[in-house]
Every structure is written in C-alpha cells, then in structure tokens.
Symmetry: C2
Subunit: 353 residues, 2 copies
C-alpha cells in the first residue's frame, strides 16, 4: 500500500475548469489527508483559487500550461494539439512517469481515452480498455462496464471485463468475490448474442477465485442490484447508462411539475422536504461521479464534465480508493489466473474441433 496517494489533476477540464477542480480537490484532501496533488493548468486562474484553500496549497504542486483540451475537441484534434503540453496530457503523463498514482480529469471522454491509451498503453493480458461506472441500485451500488470505450465485444473481451470489473468491486466495495452478471435480453425466441453466451460458458466452466458468476441479467436487474458487476459491450452499455440518466431526469421533472400543481401539494412538499432531499441525493449522478478507465497501465478517472466541486471530489475519492486498495495489482492477479484458464480453455477447444 503506497504511503501517500499522489493525485494528478487536469485543472482545466470540465465545463467549469479550475473553479470546480480546486475546491473539489480541497474537499477530497479533507476526506483523505494522506493525499498530495499536482495541478496542471493556467497559473493565472488556479493561483487565486488556491489562495483560498491554504491546506490544499500546502499539499499541492502547481504546474503551469497554457494549453487545454476543449470539451468539443475530437480525440484526433486533442492528440494533435494537446499532446506533450495540455493540462490533460500532463496529468496522464505524471502517472506514466511515476510522479502520480492516479490522474483525474473532467475533460472530454474521447480525448481523455485517446491520450490515456496512447501514453499509458494496455495492461499486459488485456486487449483493450473499458469504461466502468458506479450505478446506484436499490441495494447500494454496482459497477457497470463497458460504457462506451469500444463497440462490440467477443467472448474473451467480455471475460476480461468481468475480471476488471470484479477487481474494481473488490477495491471499492471490499467484496472478496463479487457477483458478476452478463447483460442480455430475455426474449426467449432470440437467445442472446453468441459472444454473450460464449462468455457465459467460459465463466461458468472455469470458475475464477474472485468472480461469483451469476448468469445473465436484464436491463431492469441493474437498478435492482442483482449483481455487483454488470458486464456488456460499449454500445449497449452506453445506451443503458444514458437511458437510465434520462429516465431519472424525467421522473424528477414530473415530480417538480406534479408538486407545483396546487397550493396543497406545495405545502406538502415543504413538509416532506427532507425526504425529497434524500431522494435527490440518491438519484444525483454527482454522488456516484467518476467513470474509471480500466485495462490501462495506470489509473485514470473521468469526472462528469458538468459536475460541481462535490462531484469532482467524489471522482477523486474513487481514484484515491483505486490506488489505496491497489486496483492494478488486483486486476493483474486475476488476469494472470484467467490467462492460464483461458489458454487451457482454448487448447481444449482446439483439440475437440
């Protein structure tokens, strides 16, 4: 376990840049006093904000750069204009150079993933990265991946995701053997994607020490908390996530509309306000803010672009835990075993066919 967790921040990322990142870092430091920070970005904007947070100022180093990746830059543009010098690149590069343990950015997802892949490269044994997120459920929180790093996945790639997701659940939720479900559809006639069924077969027939494979789960099982980890390819995963966010927003909107219908419902709302505050907290995407890039040689956390300082602190918190509980080592541990299983499995397949 590292002595201190060293956190590199892209201070210019997100819709609000340093005005959210700096107070967010201050909140995270209060929560984890054993953290140190490196902030990358515009000194002229960051300096005055740091002055208001003397404890953070003492625990951080500020590295100036003029270049920032814009929220609407395409990954190729971002790489062309921002490589070697943007605040986003430098934060990732600090992880690469071993100066930081984790990089956190609220900048644009495509650019962050492109830079992280380009600079950090893949973990040995993993073919390609995945984006994982925390999903509030009726029982607590589950981990869902992939949320859009790649489109489509073969059976081995789905199994890799099960391995990475379960390592993340061990680290964040301290579950030794997380339950893992493969997202599928329940209509009987179409029996689900071939790759999903094949991944299910591999997971069922080759039990891994840190994976409790529970079979297929459907879209409504995610929120029900049926599995600690839900695995799917990036197209369906992204659509599931966005649809759930949209539905939650829709519900909140209806609720607001319903309450403003009459004076009685407004009074009722005032009386029930603490309850509504609890509800908002439960459904607030900020509370489980932080997409985690898995499969890379380093930990990179993507915060929502439009988040506030509390949300950014939550993303840092995820990064802190990843490092503190040694995510990469835990992925490596299972990948290693899985590689053995999988090679054997392939050999059997080869012998039979």
């Amino acid at each position: 376990m590292p002595q201190k967790v060293r956190i590199a921040l892209d201070a210019m990322g997100g819709d609000h840049g340093p005005s959210v990142v700096v107070p967010g870092a201050a909140l995270a430091l209060a929560q984890h006093p054993d953290s140190t920070f490196i902030l990358f970005g515009d000194q002229g904007r960051i300096g005055p904000l740091l002055a208001a947070h003397p404890r953070l100022k003492a625990a951080c180093r500020l590295v100036h750069t003029d270049v920032a990746v814009r929220m609407d830059d395409k990954p190729s543009q971002a790489l062309r204009n921002g490589r070697w010098k943007s605040s986003m690149w430098l934060a990732i590069d600090a992880v690469k150079k071993g100066e930081a343990d984790v990089a956190v950015s609220a900048g644009n997802t495509g650019a962050l993933m492109a830079m992280a892949k380009f600079n950090l490269r893949m973990l040995s044994g993993i073919e390609r990265p995945a984006i994982a997120a925390l999903w509030p459920t009726m029982k607590g929180t589950c981990i869902v991946l992939d949320l859009g790093a790649s489109i489509g996945a073969d059976a081995e790639q789905l199994v890799d995701m099960a391995v990475m997701g379960s390592a993340m659940a061990r680290v964040l939720h301290q579950i030794d053997r997380p339950s893992v479900g493969l997202l599928n559809i329940g209509v009987e006639e179409v029996k689900g994607l071939e790759a999903v069924r094949e991944a299910g077969r591999i997971l069922r027939e080759n039990p891994l020490p840190h994976i409790d494979y529970i079979g297929f789960v459907e879209g409504d099982d995610i929120g029900r908390g049926k599995a600690d980890v839900v695995v799917t390819e990036g197209f369906a995963g992204n659509i599931a996530l966005k649809t759930a966010e949209g539905t939650a927003r829709q519900f909140a909107d209806y609720l607001r509309g319903a309450i403003s219908q009459s004076i009685w419902s407004k009074i009722g709302y005032l009386l029930a306000r603490p309850a509504f505050r609890m509800l908002r907290d439960k459904m607030d995407p900020n509370k489980s803010n932080g997409g985690v890039f898995l499969g890379l040689n380093g930990v990179v956390i993507k915060s929502h672009g439009g988040t506030d300082s509390e949300g950014f602190a939550a993303a840092i918190d995820v990064g802190y835990n990843m490092v503190h509980y040694e995510l990469l080592a835990k992925i490596g541990e299972t990948i290693h075993r899985h590689a053995g299983v999988s090679a054997a499995d392939r050999a059997i397949g080869g012998a039979v066919s």
Copy 2:
C-alpha cells in the same frame, strides 16, 4: 376505413388470463363502441366473467379451446403444443382468415412472435419483424423499435424500421411527417456502429415523404422527446427499455422510502397526494401498454403479461387505432416508395464500386 374494428383476444394470455382480459375488453368497448370481439379460451372460466359484462357479451363471440400457451413456454414448445388449437394461435389465425382485424395477447412474447411469424408471414418488402412500443417522454409519447424481435440489424433493416415506426406514428399520433432518430452513442472516439452510420446516410440522402430524419439520438434523448420515432436494433432496444423501466421503479421505490421517513413527510405526502397520483399515472407502464409487432401481414399487439384490466384495455386501444387508421396500408405506402429509392441507391453503389 373498416366499418367496425374486429378484435381477436387471446383470453388465456398473461399472468391473470380471463380475469383481466374480459374486464379489459369491456373497458375498451366502452371507449370504442364500434368494436366487436372474438374471445378464444376456456369457456368455463370466460362465461361467468362475460355474464357480468352484458354489453361486451352482446358484442362478442366466444370460441372455446382447452389449450393455452404457458408464460414460460419456449417458442418452439409453444409452436409444437399450441399450433392450430391454443387460444393464442386461434386469435392470430382469426386475423389470418380475415375474421378479425387485430389480435391482442398478454401471453409470452417469444411464443406470440413465433406464432405470428409462422402464421401471418412477412409484409412484402419487409425482411423481418420488429417490436415497437410507446415510450412516455417529457413532451408526450414516442415510438421505440426494435425492442427484441431480432438481435443486430444491417443498414437496410434499420431503414425498414424507420419506415414502419413512422407509419405507426402517423397512425397513433396523427403526425404526417414524424421525426425519426437513430439510436447511437456519443463518445467521440468510437463513432458508432457502421450499420447505424450507413442507415443514417441512406435516410439523409434519400428523403422519404413521411420521414423527417433528424440524425443520431442518445439514450437520454428518448425520454427528452427529441424524436417521434427512435430506431435501434433489438438488443440495445430491449436493454434500453428494461433499464428505463428499472430506473422508474427504483425512483418510485426511493420516493416511497423517503416519504415514510418522518411523520412530517407523511403529512406532506397526504397533502400532495393528487400530485403523486398524477406522477404515478405518468410513469405507469400500463398507461402506454402494448408492444406492437410490425412487419407482419396483420396487426398483433402484445400486452404486458402482468397488466391489469385498464392496461389490457390500453393495449386493445393501440390495436384499435392501428386498424382504424390503417397501419398496414400506411406501411405499404412508404415501403413501396422506399423500395424504389433503395433499389436506385443500390444501383448507384453498384455502378461506383
């Protein structure tokens, strides 16, 4: 426009069978007095229920059968045991024989689709069926398809779905040129499925008279009401639908939990009760109950298995409108034009390559 709409009902389908179907039909008749019904199922169970609804009894014919498809029958089992004789088969067969204009069943989706395909066959110009549903949005209701009839889709199949979905929107929502969006993911780095992009190109370059193609939409745009029709392949569509249902249920659950926290929030709830009733109505899947099987030589409506009589009446209402406003003719009309466009399009592709 047909004189009367003749509706065939699988009276044994769903979790509750005749005890929901019969009162549901009575409600539907009250709404559309120009309907007649044929009920297929167990006379011993249906007869006494009909006695309580004399108006329905006068407007319906009861055809006895002992055989019912079970909710957990596989499509192959259902076909083997239920063909020619089950209440589900007979309801579809009434449409095939021209004795009814539409069949409605709350029975299992896979079996219903298998029987409908086997018996009714595909509409000329359509390769395979799709399941469409009504989705409540912030602006009203949109149509989403495919919700799981098939997994995966090529560009032409997605365009077919755009045609069928827009015909359904014309029929149900009286929009002459519905806006149509293709469901895609917004992460820049991965630019979306090849088939989705190709379908977008076809729809953009070959404008169809009854389709206002608005481009790609994301998961959260569905509930936002960005498009009148959202098109996707069945795997992602089914996962989106189930995830949205799960999230709505989760929200309602949180709300209940929040309200029961204190005496004040309970009093608040009582005062705001009409508002909550409105909210429940908005989010109630029963209110937009009725999956529509599109692409077949006949109209078949699948109601939720666990629905109540009000929900079953809503499914009948969807079927009624489909017939009353001549869905099949409207699909045929656009398919016809689309086939012309598409052949030209293929020819151009052929000439260039």
